[in-house]
């Protein structure tokens, strides 16, 4: 059975304090791992797709990495506007995404 576990559930950081969010997955045949950002009352906003172990992608203060069992979303020198829930999802089957429950990030000025 496909499983995606995100940790921690919630994270509070001071502005400028770098950290990482974890996404552990169990899926039969990974076809893609996706990171999304979700602000309160809005739909998820696409950030990254990773397809194979060792792959890395960066966007501004965010960097996503992938191994055979987990993915990390590294946040470097975060700012208050980075506060959001970060969702990890795996491509399950051929058609849909299977999501974790997210990490709620709060960056304090």
């Amino acid at each position: 059975e496909d499983q995606v576990t995100q940790s921690p559930e919630a994270l509070r950081l001071q502005e400028g304090e770098s950290s990482s969010l974890n996404c552990s997955y169990t899926v039969s045949g990974l076809r893609g791992l996706f990171w999304y950002r979700q602000d309160p009352g809005k739909g998820p906003e696409f950030l990254f797709t990773l397809y194979s172990a060792g792959e890395e992608k960066e966007k501004e203060r965010l960097k996503a990495t992938l191994t055979k069992k987990e993915s990390f979303l590294h946040i470097t020198a975060p700012k208050p506007e980075d506060s959001a829930t970060y969702l990890c999802a795996v491509a399950a089957g051929a058609n849909n995404l299977f999501f974790g429950t997210g990490t709620r990030l709060t960056v304090i000025p």
Partner: protein, 114 residues
């Protein structure tokens, strides 16, 4: 260009009523998905359309839920005899191609069943 749009943004209904939720995907996107998100949870897959046909409806919880996409663009999610447990945010997403491509989400419709 315009993103995925959903209407209404909020819907309050009474138990037992029928509701329709609409999704307008990004122009040119052939694949369309419906998800449901409960508070504190990630989105949960409901149904996937490729063109006009429902290619995968394995996530629909029961036969009270039905969705259509008659012209391969706009989609409507229909819920009959609503129950309090149906209360959630219903999200629509579209992608240029099916399969393992990034899906772009709309803002969702918050459904509250009293």
């Amino acid at each position: 260009g315009a993103g995925v749009s959903q209407t209404p943004s909020n819907k309050v209904t009474e138990k037992g009523k029928y509701v329709e939720l609409r999704c307008d995907p990004i122009s040119g996107h052939t694949a369309l998905y419906w998800y449901r998100q409960s508070l504190g949870q990630g989105p949960e897959f409901l149904i996937y359309f490729q063109g006009t046909g429902a290619a995968d409806d394995s996530g629909l919880p029961n036969d009270r839920f039905f969705a259509v996409r008659p012209e391969g663009s706009v989609s409507t999610l229909k819920i009959q005899r609503t129950e309090r447990g149906d209360s959630a945010v219903y999200l629509c997403a579209s992608s240029l191609l099916p399969g393992y491509n990034e899906q772009f989400f709309g803002p969702g419709t918050r459904l509250t069943v009293l």
